[in-house]
């Protein structure tokens, strides 16, 4: 890739980044252009991934292998997949059920053991495992193990609606709520920090692209956007005055 293309890329990347950030001021055509480009580019990215990772190695190559068994094993899912396209023809759209039911059946069948193994058994195991060597733990580790076990039971009880939550049961479910609140708070904090981490990355890129090496791309685009918003404001206020 030539140096010129890298500089052009820096200008495009800086422009698209700033176009999207411009929405923080207000909705504008630059944001909408970048937003629609994002939808298209996202679909393009997944399209090429599916084309080169699934369509060619898993459909095209087996079909051209000359092996009847391999061809047969590709034709069935390809027909099931093509059946989905009948969604566009209302009269025969029921045919798409064949493809959907295959996906649903297989996914449901796999969701049971996977869900049981990872989300159910592993979580229970993680909760009770420290108790297998409980007295070899330090007092602090014992406290933590007990807190997790009690907290998990209380949260589960909070979601257990087969008995009325009153008396001692209400207290247990209330304790469960506090553990849930801590989890929600921690999740919120983590989400915010993850987004901010992306934000620092974008700022870092913009600073990088504002260097002389990239002909001050970020700075010029900021100036351009500022001029646009100023011009728009002047134009709009003049228009308002004329109409009054």
């Amino acid at each position: 890739m030539s140096e010129g293309m890298l500089i052009l890329g820096a200008w495009i990347a800086a422009a698209l980044t700033l176009f999207l950030f411009s929405f923080l001021y207000k909705d504008n055509p630059f944001f909408k252009v970048a937003e629609h480009l994002f939808i298209g580019a996202g679909m393009g990215w997944y399209f090429q991934t599916i084309f080169y990772k699934i369509m060619i190695p898993k459909i095209w190559e087996p079909l051209n292998s000359g092996d009847p068994f391999k061809m047969f094993m590709v034709i069935i899912p390809a027909i099931l997949g093509l059946s989905l396209m009948t969604q566009f023809i209302p009269k025969i759209s029921w045919i798409s059920r064949y493809g959907f039911t295959f996906l649903m059946g297989y996914s449901a069948g796999m969701a049971i053991p996977v869900g049981l193994a990872t989300d159910f058994m592993n979580q229970i195991l993680g909760t009770i495992e420290p108790f297998s060597a409980f007295f070899s733990l330090t007092p602090w580790q014992m406290f933590n193990a007990l807190t997790i076990a009690i907290g998990t039971i209380c949260v589960l009880f909070y979601f257990f609606f087969s008995v009325e939550h009153k008396g001692a049961g209400k207290k247990v479910s209330n304790i469960g709520i506090y553990f849930l609140m801590i989890y929600f708070g921690a999740s919120f904090g983590n989400t915010v920090m993850a987004r901010f981490s992306l934000l620092y990355g974008r700022f870092d890129t913009l600073v990088n692209y504002s260097s002389a090496k990239y002909f001050y791309a970020s700075a010029w685009i900021v100036v351009g956007l500022t001029l646009y918003f100023l011009a728009e404001k002047i134009f709009m206020s003049a228009k308002r005055e004329i109409s009054q």
Partner: protein, 223 residues
């Protein structure tokens, strides 16, 4: 017609669901082969599912352009964005790097087009999350206060200013902000998360069984 429209699709769900479920628990060469084949089939059918969505999106934007609906000009950029990724991909045969580790056309499009767009789009959410929380969140109960403290410690404790404030205010405890965050995530937050995950797993199993046995069939649509 009911046979083709309803009974056979439900039979497909039942058969593939039960056989996939059984294959997971049967340590046999045949079941391993079956799962491998089904995984490939699922990839293929899902790929067509993606094309279904893609065509639907293109059709919606085509209709917007054709009817000259409000903002129809922006719809053109959906096609431009798509082509800006797909044409380089075709030229580069789906590879992002050349053998000498330099960028291919696809690598260039990913780095300078898709990556800035996706990273910026998600980073913008930081502002909205904070502003929404500020406007809607009120500490009206002890439970809300607990949520606030957990979030506050996690956000502030991860930045240098927050760590300085922590050391100034709570330095006497000899517990650092990092240790406090690790404890919150590792102990009380884990307890809350485990309760939810166990509940979700039970819900997923029950829903899957309902799908397999045809009790839940909304995905089949009407008629």
């Amino acid at each position: 017609m009911k046979l083709f429209k309803k009974n056979i699709p439900l039979a497909i769900v039942l058969v593939f669901g039960l056989v996939s479920l059984a294959s997971y628990y049967v340590p046999n060469r045949m079941s391993e082969d079956y799962l491998e084949v089904m995984n490939a089939w699922e990839n293929i059918v899902s790929a067509f599912g993606f094309f279904l969505g893609l065509i639907s999106l293109f059709y919606a934007h085509y209709m917007k352009i054709r009817k000259k609906a409000d903002g129809w000009g922006y719809s053109l950029f959906v096609y431009i964005g798509f082509l800006m990724m797909v044409i380089p991909a075709i030229i580069s045969h789906g590879k992002q790097l050349n053998p000498d580790a330099s960028l291919t056309w696809l690598g260039w499009a990913f780095r300078y087009l898709y990556n800035p767009l996706s990273a910026t789009m998600f980073s913008i959410l930081a502002f909205y999350i904070i502003s929404t929380a500020y406007r809607s969140f009120r500490i009206k109960s002890l439970q809300a206060f607990v949520l606030f403290v957990a979030a506050f410690v996690l956000i502030l404790g991860r930045i240098p200013v927050g760590q300085m404030i922590w050391d100034w205010a709570l330095g006497f405890t000899k517990v650092t902000a990092g240790e406090a965050i690790d404890w919150i995530i590792g102990v009380p937050s884990t307890a809350g998360k485990r309760g939810i995950m166990i509940g979700v797993a039970i819900g997923a199993v029950v829903t899957s069984l309902k799908i397999i046995f045809g009790i839940e069939r909304q995905y089949m649509g009407k008629d």
